[in-house]
């Protein structure tokens, strides 16, 4: 898939949750099922290997996508392409016992795993960069701003620690979601009846076998219980949330009048088509874009969960695929951009210091009033001694970051 012209930066998501990757995942599920059928039952031993060698070329992808309308999903047309390439004795076992939704749902779990793993790597880069910023700017004093107005002093290290804590929160949620990735294997109506006919027992073992082949968690069928999907969606949205917060701060701090941070310079980065002097905080702008759209994509998955009906829904299920794929790709793009942005962020401590000077004496008005209350000398007020628990907060967060880093 070429990167989207409507979503600059999309190339960063690479192949993850691309149509090609999705098609490969569909095939991987069918291959794994053939292995189960061969290991425990009637399918010929080599069929799975033969199928595993097959690939779907671009023209066939178009054919599959087009023909997917007939049954409402790509499994039937995919099988129509794959089966003729096998011998009859092999072909007749392909997909046998499964329903289309088993294959689609399990394939989406595989795609989600790729996305989560790539995200964890990029967020790991963010963790490292943020830890360095928090440590390195522990004492870089800047103004704290509330409701856009100068409030009291903070340090840039504290701000970076706050960003870091957010990224760590997202990693926590992501880890839970990853553990929840599970196999879908229930047959036409979630009873495993066809599988039971094939296996001669109730089929639960074969379902577990499919899970094991794909290194997914085993599960009872969840065709109309979509919590595994919303868990992934909520985790992906949490990723763009915390990155959006970072980017929103950077956009503000990059304003011409503030100029306390700059994005890393790069060729053609942040340029304008007409004004050569400009250097726009374009990575932050594009991350904000992802953060502003991810929540609605995530809520689409919840709507699908809430409206699931019967043993396969009458429309809700079909709404999940595109939002989930977009959500994953947007999160990946944003995480990659954030890693680059944070690794190269230019922090202008002098500009921060100058802003602090201009914000005086109002910036210490609170300190004066508290000191007056408790009877301390108010002439000794100073931004550097009105920082409260800043160091402790940074320490606590860096500790958390080290633990997370060790687990990644």
């Amino acid at each position: 898939m070429p990167p989207s012209l409507f979503w600059p930066g999309d190339h960063r998501a690479g192949d993850v949750f691309s149509p090609e990757a999705y098609a490969r995942a569909l095939v991987a599920v069918e291959v794994a099922w053939l292995r189960v059928l061969a290991a425990s039952g009637p399918a010929p031993a080599g069929a799975a290997d033969t199928l595993a060698e097959m690939s779907v070329d671009p023209g066939q992808l178009v054919e599959i996508a087009t023909d997917a309308e007939g049954g409402g999903n790509p499994v039937i047309p995919l099988l129509a392409i794959l089966r003729p390439r096998l011998s009859d004795a092999e072909a007749k076992w392909v997909h046998k016992g499964l329903t289309s939704q088993d294959v689609v749902d399990t394939a989406l779990m595989l795609c989600a795993r790729s996305a989560i793993d790539q995200l964890a790597a990029d967020l790991g880069r963010c963790v490292a960069a943020l830890a360095q910023l928090a440590e390195g700017h522990r004492r870089t004093i800047m103004v704290g701003r509330t409701l856009t107005q100068h409030a009291v002093p903070i340090t840039f290290g504290l701000k970076a620690a706050g960003w870091l804590a957010g990224v760590l929160d997202a990693l926590d949620v992501l880890a839970v979601a990853r553990r929840g990735l599970r196999v879908q294997c229930g047959g036409a109506a979630g009873t495993l009846a066809a599988i039971a006919e094939l296996s001669g027992n109730d089929g639960v073992g074969w379902s577990a076998g499919l899970a094991a082949e794909l290194a997914l968690a085993p599960s009872t069928p969840w065709h109309t219980r979509r919590t595994p999907v919303t868990a992934v969606g909520d985790a992906l949205v949490t990723v763009t949330d915390v990155l959006g917060h970072v980017a929103s701060d950077i956009v503000v701090l990059s304003r011409s009048e503030i100029a306390e941070v700059s994005e890393p310079a790069g060729e053609h980065r942040g340029g304008s088509s007409t004004m050569p002097q400009k250097r726009n905080p374009i990575l932050a702008v594009l991350i904000r874009r992802a953060a502003a759209t991810a929540p609605l994509l995530g809520s689409q998955l919840h709507l699908a969960c809430a409206q699931a009906v019967d043993e396969r829904p009458d429309g809700a299920w079909h709404t999940e695929w595109q939002p989930l794929a977009l959500l994953a790709r947007h999160a990946l793009t944003a995480a990659s951009q954030a890693a680059e942005l944070l690794e190269g962020l230019e922090v202008h401590a002098d500009a921060m210091s100058a802003t602090v000077e201009r914000a005086m004496p109002g910036l210490l008005a609170e300190q004066v009033s508290i000191r007056a209350l408790v009877g301390r000398p108010t002439e000794a007020v100073d931004a550097s001694n009105y920082l409260g628990a800043t160091q402790s907060i940074i320490d606590i967060t860096l500790d958390r970051g080290r633990e997370a880093g060790a687990q990644l």
Copy 2:
């Protein structure tokens, strides 16, 4: 662009709002601007024609999409590809006086126009099909259902007239949106200052010239006043709304236990990968999917409008492109599916009649109670004489449909 594997039916939207169509629209805007520059000013006369001959090949599309990250939109990399193909004397005038947003916004208006025109055609097919159903089933009595329960009698013609009225409402909204499609031409900060430098006057005439070249409405700049975009979005959502209502009704009426309508049969249409006896209402299911996702895409455009800031927004603008493109393509797919569905809808009058019989006598309980109140004979109650204004409502709606049909 190949049709999306994540959105079965996407091939129906064809080239509308595809990356290729978007790239062509961007070029078309630059071409039109070169014509303005040549007609009124300094650019060489043949440059526009030379540019108009150029096309962007798939590999270049990838390059443009990738490089679009640098400036945040595809205009700079597009120009980097186009300019070297012109002579220096021509190349230096390309894009001169415009800003990237002028080109992107105007190109999106052109893409929106294609979408609206194609939608009007497909909705016109729906209008014709629905008029025929309303007329042909004026007296086909069926049960009315409220909150899922049998209520009082209606006719299928009345139901079709209600669907028709919805489609006509959507056409009305679409017509307003089409009239609002306008040029974006303001330069870096919406002042037309660069254009004024080039033209020697205040530049408004050249802006109007660009509008005329592209057959769009002239306009003052709207870089951060995004109502033209939300108007298009609301119209597209209204289209999927009314089609979603039709599809939701059809999904219910197709249930195995009701079976009062069937989707048109088609090869591979509505089939199952495991159950040969099934005939799923798959077009209606896929239309419902579009209707369940369009509202959130539309609200994304409103969020962008509300959060526009400065003379070009810091992220909100960039969120518009993908939702707008998806919204248009989903509406087109749904409208094409709806036209096919309604043109071939099988109406089972006998099944409707049988349901009416089974619903007796409760179905006429209201008639009995009203007749008792006004002292009419309650033994004469009958579904065929408890239809009130059904004929008038059908007539009013058909009249409206004829007027709309004449305008299409």
Copy 3:
């Protein structure tokens, strides 16, 4: 209803779309229907007047709200309270021929009319204030900002004209929505069958009579065709969109480091619980809040439209009421806040001028490059002669504002 503790500023919406106003509107519909029944038919002449005298006290509102769960809407419990206060001869005609949804939908149209009229008044105040700002600051030069960075010069008058154009767009959409407010009158399944039994004809005349009594547009029934509701919703969202844009600009321009505008001072306005020196742009902040939430409330109405089914929906209809009421109240609050904000906005022309100075010479880099291209003297570049069509754009917009003002 007390103003919401969760939505500071809610008191500005007054009684519009309050539970009390909704209950009164429900009664007003029943009263109007009694008048139709008396004028054309069997109900006693005085019943409507008797009913019109009745009011619902707070305790009864609680009872109605609680009992509304039984039937899913408040009409049955409302009638249970009202009917016993009439004579039997009167009581038996109350609501006769209507269904609950007729009463609820028509009452919501009445509430929407109140909201739209109040909104038009507050937006009219915004139009006047913005026209004054645009005229008065025609030549107040400031920096234009794109992607947060200084770009080229604009004037504050141009910015105000852009805000004004947005408000005028919203007034246009609001006017269309107001014309679309219509009666709902169809009986149990939208056939007017019960009304026809009562009237002896097909009932359309009585439906028109109800519309006339309430000064709403006549209409065929729209129980499951919800475009009249989405049209109101889209208009309300457009209001908060354009006000959100204004507020987002003001929040930026109020930043401590920019300080080019200030909100009007007011007692307890913009204060902090701990920092006495602060003056937060709190009206703009609260308007932005409305603009960030309205789009999702609006999309809820579209979802309801898309999922309407049968002759009364199985859940979608019930989702409309709260979002619609909240949307209306939020828009009213925001419009009232915006009027106050714009009428008292402090514009710091000196600060704008100082920013322009600091932004030199980059702010004129584009002018230099264009002049070099066309061979004009580049030493004469100056912010005051790089404003292009600014004056014309202001003129065009002020003209539009005068026309709109004349219509309000």
Copy 4:
């Protein structure tokens, strides 16, 4: 707060997340803080007890809500009412060291805890009822339906087990969210600087003290890191998701033509204003309503998280309160309705059986084809022996339910 006239059933949420409860929670935070100030520092010992005795009457609530606009939140006007009732020596310590956001955020965590605990209780009732249905209908055969069409046999016990698994998933997510409820205590810009001035150390101990007083988790400040709020929101949405799925199934199975389940009968329950024979599945309809609106309320919280900026956001924070309160109340209402619905659900096994008969022989077409494949006798096909792993799936789910029940 009277129950909402726009949300029938709202009375079931009782006082949870009502304005009154919110005001009490705000006071509770100030009381707890006074205890910390007295225990560790300078405030007089009795002040907290005096404050704890105070209540806010309805008129004062109106005053607080109205005056909340000035600072953008209710804390300043609340303090303006409370402080004068204390002696000067006490009053001067109230709120000292905190910022408004500390009080608001911590109060919202307290309200969220009430909501979660009440939800867990109602979901516990659902778990018990569903376990009984799953166990009791292990062998009640019914048709499985996919894409609205008869597919293969299932049992009603399997369906109930699927519903149960969803509720258990929601309880799991809710438990994680409950553990994440934490104190907000950072002062003006999240540094605890004022607290440090008061305590003479870095203030972290006092923050932990506040957490301990309120039995919340201790935490570094999270004024602009809103993951604790989105975690609550996602959990609440997951609750309505899984209940919405149950309700959507019940609405379908209640259709007049299917009639395989009925809602529990109740006086005035499911009645119509005009059709006495009707019994609408109104609880399920109202639960579906909650499920269709919760996802967008939840996404509002994510948007707020993503757009948090500076040390207190310029609008995003203020958007959280109403969606969070509505989300909690809607979830509570839905859970209470679901408990009642499931405890009294009437299951019509005879109707299920009759549907199975009518669905033959298609319902066993898959079984025939599989048996033909593996060479088993196809004349022995029977719905009762084409149920695969149904019993195992029910067992696994009941086990999970018992574990959850033990923890509630």
